[in-house]
């Protein structure tokens, strides 16, 4: 079993739909949770960053963390064709001598159709 599980998709939705992307994890030591967006042939771009449980909203994006269920979500409201990308969840237990080592999910490919 992988430490972080993420449905690879592809997930295809019509423009304007609400998108829900999810990851589950097994390591209860994870405290920091991130979502990266990666366009084709580009490097990952940090989209959302949360610490511990709760919600965080930034424009059309909302990140949710439920540590009791070891489950994180990214919601995209009013999805646009420009949101079409691969979304990677990442998490860490915090800083140690090796820095803030991230564990990535496999990524979900999202396609928003006009």
């Amino acid at each position: 079993q992988k430490e972080v599980e993420q449905d690879p998709g592809p997930l295809s939705v019509p423009e304007g739909a609400i998108v829900s992307l999810n990851c589950t994890y097994s390591n209860s030591a994870f405290q920091y949770f991130m979502w990266y967006r990666q366009y084709s042939r580009k490097g990952p771009e940090l989209l959302m960053y949360t610490y511990s449980s709760g919600n965080k909203e930034d424009g059309r994006f909302t990140a949710q963390v439920d540590k009791s269920s070891k489950y994180i979500s990214l919601f995209i409201r009013d999805s646009q064709p420009s949101d079409s990308a691969t979304y990677l969840c990442a998490m860490s237990g915090g800083f140690n001598n090796a820095g803030n080592m991230l564990t990535f999910g496999g990524g979900t490919r999202l396609m928003v159709k006009p």
Partner: protein, 115 residues
Amino acid sequence: SAVISQKPSRDICQRGTSLTIQCQVDSQVTMMFWYRQQPGQSLTLIATANQGSEATYESGFVIDKFPISRPNLTFSTLTVSNMSPEDSSIYLCSVETSGATDTQYFGPGTRLTVL
């Protein structure tokens, strides 16, 4: 955040040769990381590079195959040695920053094809 550039952006190489990838950051950072992303896959950490010390390699990656230099706080190189087609991948560097968002920021990647 940090602005990160990588050179080359892409390359096509012959089997048995070596390629050195450069990573430049616009600010001084302590921690730099090198990842590999194979087609359709997520990111796999190759090694962590701290300035002034030897790189720390993850399981499955060795210094002879992926030598890394970190001469200062804004620059690092990764060499892919004695390449085979299995090394065809995207190679990404990232840097760790501190502040409001203690996490990693990624460069644009180097797309390597080995024939």
